[in-house]
Assembly symmetry: C2
Homo-oligomer: 477 residues x 2
Amino acid sequence: MSRGAAGAITAPSLDFTDGGTGVSRDRLVVIGGDAGGMSAASQARRRRDADELEIIAIERGTHTSYSACGIPYWIAGDVDAADDLVARAPAVFRDKYAIDVHLRHEATAIDLDRREVTARDLDGHGERTFGFDQLMIATGAVPVRPKLPGIDRPGVYGVQTLDDGAAVQAAVRPDRTCAVVVGGGYIGLEMAEALVRRGLDVTLVEAADHLMSTMDPDLADQIADAVRNVGITVRLGESVTGIEGADHVRAVTTDAGVIPADLVVLGLGVRPNSALAKSAGIDCGPTGGIVTDRQQCTSHEGVWAAGDCVETFHRVSCRPVHIALGTHANKQGRVAGINIGGGYATFPGVIGTAITKICNLEIARTGLSSRECAAVGLSGVTISVESTTRAGYFPGAELMTTKIIAERGTGRLLGAQIVGREQSAKRIDVLATALWNGMTVEEMVGMDLSYAPPFSPVWDPVLIAARKAADAVAAAR
Amino acid sequence: MSRGAAGAITAPSLDFTDGGTGVSRDRLVVIGGDAGGMSAASQARRRRDADELEIIAIERGTHTSYSACGIPYWIAGDVDAADDLVARAPAVFRDKYAIDVHLRHEATAIDLDRREVTARDLDGHGERTFGFDQLMIATGAVPVRPKLPGIDRPGVYGVQTLDDGAAVQAAVRPDRTCAVVVGGGYIGLEMAEALVRRGLDVTLVEAADHLMSTMDPDLADQIADAVRNVGITVRLGESVTGIEGADHVRAVTTDAGVIPADLVVLGLGVRPNSALAKSAGIDCGPTGGIVTDRQQCTSHEGVWAAGDCVETFHRVSCRPVHIALGTHANKQGRVAGINIGGGYATFPGVIGTAITKICNLEIARTGLSSRECAAVGLSGVTISVESTTRAGYFPGAELMTTKIIAERGTGRLLGAQIVGREQSAKRIDVLATALWNGMTVEEMVGMDLSYAPPFSPVWDPVLIAARKAADAVAAAR
């Protein structure tokens, strides 16, 4: 099916032909030019060339396919320029993939009956309507922004898009000396570290009584120590009540006092940006994310979704979850694109694997935490072991803690967490792969993992933990 | 059952009592005081205390439970002293585990009818006989030492025991300027690097036309480049014909010439040290290793074996294999010890996982190589991918090559190899865990592995390789 670039065709069953070429084309419209949307677009293109499938992408911001996870490292100075975080620029999509990318266009409405998307040109050139045969929704997530007095004051930043990152980057100036980061999760901690490395006095405020709610409290304590050691003031169990200032932020008020702030970064997590889909009548789930089937198709045929705007299912809890991570967005986008392109692929769900580096600590998790086990009625036996990343005698051997939660009775691995120094946390992938395959900790003990002194003790930390967990499961029977 | 320390009791059915205490004890004799033997001894002790089980260990050398894999790092200077390589000294076994360790005693005969072991005191104090109820054979491996003219000349060293390591250490003196390493496998390469770091001119001679026969030739080429880059002369496809010299080695002769040598290190692999068991009538298999069942019991009841002296089974090839690695020895010893102690445990076999660091390269493998697949009649589809260890834009991102062999038709993972810079090779454990669980490469693509810019690109190298392999399997159908 063929349409002029700005034309709106209402009847998808009509078979238009492309300006005189005689070839019939479908049109795919992609809303959102980051991981989920552009993975889908590229995969669809690989299977159907431009003669068969016209692809139009609508992106609110000024970049495509960038690494939002890289923003804290750009702020910290580890990465030189925003462009370094861009995997594929709009010109690449246009030239190599024949994908017509419309930047600074915000989709404002989806009409499923007319099969068209309306988008507003953010540079003031009015509205356009794009008809579609297939629609890919990849609208991402929006930072949680509590309704606090002064929250919209200049100097308060979220960190979700590359444009957000640029705003923080511009805000770090010699006359700004103190920053408050609200929220002690991954992004909050990464941003706190980045800002302290840029020379600011940083206070991190967390309402819960430990950092990183995705980790168990005992491991979170190690993280708090590491964060304090680099000079970040950590205030736990303290709720922000407002943001003060006149034309610019001046302080953050909490239920325990006032913290001066020239700069406030919100790290309170994100929620699915699914409002557009929802108002079009597309089903959303209990997490607020768009519901899809295993092929990433939404409640409406020919309408697909992927990435931070969808909910997916957790293979351990068997519950729908919203986990905003580029790695899921890429995989889901690829699955959607293969299906849009006429192939067949499914997304197998997630198990909650995550990793980060905060100060000198590597931190990782997979499966369910103790709290998450309790929430779904799974009874776990929990062990922790301290071991070294290399053979104890080898230069550079560092300490690491591995925690395992195994199901009482069966010994099935339910979750694992690692906190340690260099070369510790990426071992979570071994635990994730074992968990993915439904292994018991007893079965894991015998696994043939690699050993040489520069890489691990003769019993790999994962195996030591599995062994101890197997003993604990047996003892609890 | 009780016996005096040096007494020989012939009838195991007789129930002696311990010198007046009235408690009956069994006796476990362990031949070999390294990983396999002492793991078994400690596990047995954990389940049966000294009142129930007397444990005697016989060790030919002067150390117990040491890391033979650490020897090259000790020679190189990364590790200060031999003692650093000792996990548990004899005194620890005596004092903490009540294990009576006889060092410098070489077991010379096993009499299964009389259930006794004869051992020679290597310090010239004659022979002793130890009766046993249970026998643990952990005699390890011996370096392959081809019958070449001059092979026994002073200055020619194997690297198998800590005492061997001490001999090489003593041989590295200012007046020794050139070394020849024979054999380009793990130990040969590690020793070549150690000696070049100690300032010697090192030539490595390998009869095959590529290094590291356990890796596929294309990856072995990368290794050869790295080895040559640190100044090691690599001579491939060249067979050693003899060792020249008078009272000390002076040169190594090959079918292509003469190489001056003040020092020769043999890195030609090892074979199971099973002669003692074999002459006692205990079954050995096609690899030369002692045959055991899944519980590590030999062909004779109450006689157990573990470690480098046994053969085990390969879960992918379904063939018996001899793989001399401390990690297997420890696991097998643990299994034997649990069973000796009255528990129940089995060893699940191996999949050929191995890792090392040579010069600036990390090298790892699991499963079968291309050659090994062919040898057992498995038809594989093979792919290689280059990727980065961290997000491409992240400081310290390094190149790595991941190779995957998947079964034609089914797509089942058969083997994988990694060669790359820092933080690449330990990823082999993810592939090993996937292979252990019989995953197909298509199934692997969806796995929830950890992602953050300091640890991997958004598509982890393992997933990129799996994806490419899945495409290749589909294309080959």
